[in-house]
């Protein structure tokens, strides 16, 4: 059974501003999937990052508001001090729950909730970062049949987060930052072959 991808989730920390500019800047305005992003950020940040990325990238970039519909060609950044989650009805939600993996927003929270909704239709990307948030989430994405991409630790400004992700689960692609936008476009144009245990699920 074969099915197309429905969404991309991205987790990034130290070095994230540069990495996101590179990654999102490499995608066309008509990129067919929505992109949900957790960048670790101080509680007092003011939405400036989304604005900056929106100005510099062809894609539309916005800070996520609760109940935003999840649209293709749009990148949503988790707001400072809130976890970003995906609801089954196809919109985003936020939570003020305690820190998870020492972070809020937490990459794990986004990845796990997205995996529960998109299953094999999800592509998870872990980029540079000096902690281990995202590794549990990436493991969940793999468990549900999704695809895992990790930035090559040798290429990352802070290698810990990519390394932790690679240690946590079987990763499909380890690539330099430069190659990730191209890879995402290839995957988006293609279909995911759903693993054996997903057979018979009709959605």
């Amino acid at each position: 059974m074969v099915k197309s991808f429905q969404a991309v989730v991205v987790g990034v920390s130290t070095g994230g501003v540069h990495a996101l500019q590179k990654l999102l800047g490499g995608l066309p305005a008509a990129f067919p999937l929505p992109i949900l992003i957790v960048q670790h950020i101080g509680a007092d940040a003011d939405g400036g990052l989304a604005k900056l990325l929106d100005e510099r990238c062809a894609l539309r970039v916005k800070e996520a508001d609760e109940q935003d519909p999840i649209l293709p060609g749009t990148a949503y950044l988790a707001p400072p001090n809130y976890h970003l989650l995906v609801e089954r009805e196809g919109f985003l939600s936020l939570s003020a729950d305690p820190y998870v993996s020492f972070a809020r927003p937490s990459v794990d929270v986004l990845f796990e909730s997205a995996a529960a909704v998109f299953g094999p239709g999800l592509i998870g990307v872990v980029l540079t970062g000096a902690n281990f948030d995202g590794s549990q989430g990436l493991k969940t994405i793999k468990k549900k049949g999704g695809v895992a991409i990790v930035q090559d630790p040798a290429d990352a400004e802070a290698p810990q987060m990519p390394r932790a992700a690679i240690a946590a689960t079987g990763v499909d692609y380890v690539v330099a930052l430069d190659g990730i936008a191209t890879l995402l476009q290839k995957l988006a144009a293609r279909r995911n072959t759903i693993p054996h245990d997903e057979k018979g699920r009709d959605d």
Binding site: Y82, S95, D97
Partner: protein, 275 residues
């Protein structure tokens, strides 16, 4: 069938059971967060599956109470979002001052920090003795704590910073006494606050409010339950009254939004129009 689908069914049954037996209705809470919390509770409960927990949950109130504590997250702080409190001080209080007496409702007050912050602010702005606050929550355990007004001393540094950023006119240390690792809020702050249980999913309105705050509560609700809450606040508010939501919540996509004007643009302070 995937194991998640089984779990989704179990969760639905569990919430249905909880509603029927205990009257607490969590069926309209947004799935993603409540699933996380329930799984967290399950992991700590010693049960392997929700089906396994169900039997005891429906028969033993203490098991239900632990679930209730697990489902409702009560994270809060004094002067949370200082820029919001500054805007209340500078833009809302001048209107409140035109009334001889005002009534304020904190819906989903958790351990009370938001209500205590407001009491400090109003006292500093010369409104001492001219307000009554109703601070409500679904979780009676947190209301009990709220009434005590005791916080970990370790938090005081952060709260002091918030207070200063919010435009506080005094020294935050004037408002509490330190004892060992605890900080006890000055009892005078409690004088005009009533802490009471109230469930936004099932209970009714509070009449004739000048100001309603419901911050970081409705983000956990599905759209239909949000609408219910907003109707409740709307019928509780006097014309010209104020509605304050969390920084990431807005009336933009809401039916009743047109009856409100946004006062401080990104800070989600709304004023109910007259007529």
């Amino acid at each position: 069938m995937r194991s998640d689908d089984v779990e989704d069914v179990e969760i639905r049954l569990l919430l249905e059971g909880v509603q029927r037996i205990y009257g607490y209705d969590f069926r309209d809470y947004a799935d993603a967060s409540i699933k996380r919390r329930l799984n967290h509770w399950l992991a700590e409960s010693g049960f392997d599956t929700f089906s396994q927990a169900q039997s005891q949950l429906l028969r033993e109130r203490s098991v239900f109470e632990s679930l209730l504590r697990g489902i409702t997250v009560n994270v809060t702080e004094m002067f949370r979002d200082p820029t919001f409190f500054r805007a209340v001080r500078e833009q809302v209080v001048p209107f409140l001052k035109t009334y001889p007496f005002v009534k304020i409702w904190h819906a989903g007050c958790a351990t009370g920090e938001e209500a205590y912050s407001m009491a400090i602010l109003l006292n500093e702005e010369g409104m001492a003795g001219r307000y009554r606050m109703y601070a409500t929550d679904i979780n009676e355990a947190v209301l009990q704590k709220a009434g005590e007004g005791v916080m970990p001393i370790a938090e005081m540094q952060r709260f002091t910073r918030n207070y200063q950023k919010s435009g506080g006119r005094a020294s935050f240390a004037d408002y509490y006494t330190a004892r060992y690792d605890r900080a006890m809020l000055s009892p005078a702050l409690k004088q005009h606050i009533v802490f009471a249980p109230h469930n936004l999913a099932t209970d009714g309105e509070f009449g004739e409010m000048n100001l309603v705050l419901c911050r970081n509560v409705m983000i956990y609700f599905k759209p239909a339950l949000k609408e219910r809450c907003l109707r409740l606040f709307d019928s509780s508010l006097l014309p010209g009254g104020f509605l304050c939501l969390g920084l990431k919540e807005s009336l933009e996509r809401r039916k009743m939004g047109e009856r409100y004007e946004e006062l401080a643009a990104p800070l989600r302070i709304y004023r109910k129009r007259y007529g």
